[in-house]
Symmetry: C2
Subunit: 446 residues, 2 copies
């Protein structure tokens, strides 16, 4: 028996707003951050996980992880990591804390981080990267960790088992091919809204040359700028599909109108045209912009919203996020829901560490659920990989299969210490940059 003896959180923030990496129509100045947690066992084993955030408020999430962590402290770790369905429910359905969501926002993210840290412990103990661990589990074991609450009218344990059992055929071959050939990637790195035209063109060329399957452009700030930037991109790399992403900037009617004004550039999809809470709105937009396809997911709160987006025929692509929902368990539910409705999953990865984690979901999806990479790719952004124990590798526009045991979330100790906010040496060094050192730079502008 092993026991949970420590749960340590760290408020890690990177000053990405200095370069406008990650800027879009809504997220104008993100400091990519990680509400980081390490679960320690008496055996010396460690499980690592984090919640991605955009800077301010990262400490709200670390505090929430601390509070939920008390539900795990002192517990039998073997029971936790070999009954991850029960562990997840104990956190997410806590009879008092459930009120704080339910199953959404800060509390769901915090629960997800703890669930993921437990999965990290499990994967390390079994000596496998998460995608391989999941792919080699029996269908019954996958179904056992999923919470089917409130999705029963779309996905039952029986339907999930059916999907996974069909996925057994050829699974070993697909695992082998993932190890040799990886999985397609697309890149958002050229298209951040804060970048100059020159930088956009230069990075688009570089992305196409690097073999990415698609490029994504942030839109929604100004229609003329969007048309100019989209035209520049299409001219520079005519053979590469370009998706567009509005980060929830629009009202429903506005989205239809705006996207149709960009139709001549044949965007591969329109991502987050409006609030991700607006299921009916997405369905209306999808009808209104057809044949342009609709994608969303990075801000979807939980499996219940995903279920409805699928039921309402509101999306063509589902973009799960690794750290917003209730951990790997809820993402497994979402992968199976997507398979049930035959909607391809293209994970979100614009942030710090998300590439490192989300790749596991697509690898597992190919190996054990859908068996296809058709019309599917994982988002890729270039920055901050150097801080991770196993930085993501992309070669010829494809993700290379991760090999390190665990879920991919481990950030280097030195990086975590340097960028701990506000006391880490990295933050102390840039202390003369007013826009960064003032934790609330916009407070004067109301």
């Amino acid at each position: 028996m092993s026991v949970v003896v420590s749960i340590v959180t760290q408020d890690v923030r990177f000053p990405t707003s200095l370069e406008l990496d990650g800027s879009d129509a809504v997220n104008v100045d993100p400091d990519y951050s990680a509400a980081y947690v390490t679960i320690g066992l008496d055996t010396g084993e460690e499980g690592h996980a984090f919640v991605f955030t955009a800077g301010r408020g990262n400490d709200i999430v670390t505090h929430a992880i601390d509070v939920y962590g008390q539900l795990l402290f002192g517990r039998n770790a073997d029971e936790l990591i070999y009954d991850l369905g029960a562990a997840s429910k104990r956190l997410i359905h806590d009879s008092q804390m459930r009120w704080l969501g339910p199953e959404k926002g800060v509390t769901q993210m915090a629960c997800g981080a703890l669930v993921n840290a437990l999965w990290d412990l499990r994967a390390r103990r079994e000596g496998k990267p998460l995608w391989l661990l999941l792919s080699e589990l029996a269908p019954e074991e996958i179904v056992d960790v999923i919470d089917f609450t409130h999705i029963g009218n779309a996905l039952t344990p029986e339907l999930a088992l059916d999907i996974l059992r069909r996925g057994e055929a050829g699974k070993a071959d697909r695992i082998a091919s993932l190890k040799t050939d990886g999985y397609p990637a697309y890149t958002t790195s050229p298209g951040w809204l804060g970048y100059s035209d020159e930088k956009l063109v230069r990075l688009s060329r570089a992305a196409a040359d690097a073999g990415f399957s698609m490029i994504k452009l942030k839109v929604g700030g100004n229609i003329d700028a969007d048309r100019r930037r989209l035209a520049l991109m299409r001219r520079e790399v005519p053979g590469t599909p370009v998706a567009i992403d509005a980060n929830q900037r629009w009202e429903v009617d506005e989205a239809v109108n705006w996207v149709n004004q960009l139709a001549e550039f044949e965007p591969y999809w329109i991502e987050e045209p409006t609030s991700t809470d607006d299921i009916l709105g997405h369905a209306a937009i999808r009808k209104g912009v057809s044949p342009i396809r609709v994608a969303t997911g990075e801000a979807v709160a939980n499996r219940i919203i995903f279920k409805q987006l699928l039921q309402a025929d509101a999306i063509d692509f589902l973009q799960l996020d690794a750290t917003r929902v209730g951990g790997i368990n809820e993402n497994l539910a979402t992968l199976l829901l997507a398979a049930r409705f035959d909607v391809p999953v293209c994970p979100h990865a614009g942030g710090v560490g998300l590439c490192e984690v989300v790749q596991h979901f697509s690898f597992f999806d190919y190996a054990a659920i859908t068996g296809t990479q058709e019309g599917r790719f994982i988002e890729y952004v270039e920055h901050l990989h150097e801080h991770f124990a196993e930085p993501v590798r992309v070669t010829n526009g494809r993700y290379v299969a991760p090999v390190r045991p665990g879920i991919g979330a481990e950030m280097l100790t030195a990086s975590r210490e340097k960028w701990t906010f506000p006391s880490g040496s990295g933050w102390l060094e840039i202390g003369d940059s007013a826009s960064i050192t003032d934790p609330y730079p916009m407070a004067a502008k109301v």
Copy 2:
């Protein structure tokens, strides 16, 4: 000019789980709690507000209020309280913290508390209770504080102005009648799931004798018990309508089946039959249980979900909650959305302090929006009113108009100190009750 010089939070929890007050099929052991905030100005003025929670995790909310509070600290209070639309947007749309919701869960609750504390300052300065302050504002002033983002396809500023301008006719008379006659109430006090049959019958009789318009019964634990308890209640008070409340306990199909098994008792409404995130599910349930009507709202995250529940014809009654959404501003949006779709608003008040605050919304709705009390009543529960500066008054089954300037949220200093968790004298006194003093009593049960 006045300046925000202090923002103080307090983690106030009441040991209600000892008596199973507030117990239902999902919230089995709530300790009714308040994440309390006091905004202080250099003039000595104070604004009070709180977020209701169910116990554990109350400190997650106080911490979030502390973090968002830094956006207000040192600011010109006159600008804040006389441009509450801008103040609200500065909090809720903070470019970095928005990621933590967006607009849902802990962060939305925290923003709502700060927005409400600013309204409390405003109402005190003008010497009016909130409902009267709102009722006497010009339609343009109401519209000015509302955030129409992502509800534009259901409610525009122009439509909102139309509704409010129609409400001008007869408003003075309605304000006068509210001051003399109040507003109808219904009570949930007899129907908590943890109560014995004897207590349920006794309290039902008392409620009917006290003149309440309706009684509510918690259901969803066990169908036989539900039938027995509902029969007991109907037999004891045959002339009083009885609503039922499942607190999101069911799957969609299960809800239809379960409610139809209770149809012979003619429940006035079925409340929270499934996840409040499930708009399509509520629409299906409403069709499946007709003519029994469907109500929801206490756990609805924001105006965007409410918009869709209305657009999808999914609810017959809208139950706004005073402290879950982004404050009074977002509740004003919801009141106008409900009016636009002609759905009556019957506020949720099962918690501590919610009666004291939600009454203001119904009073304002009658005075300035719908002009009717037909089919509308405010929930009432009996406990914990003694802790408030102006305890809610219910006479002959009607809420009496509050008169104290402010939003009704002020809790007595002595109560806040006694029940501060875990160091207040109230908590130290009951320190020998294991189920209470262990902050995580269920941890051993996973």
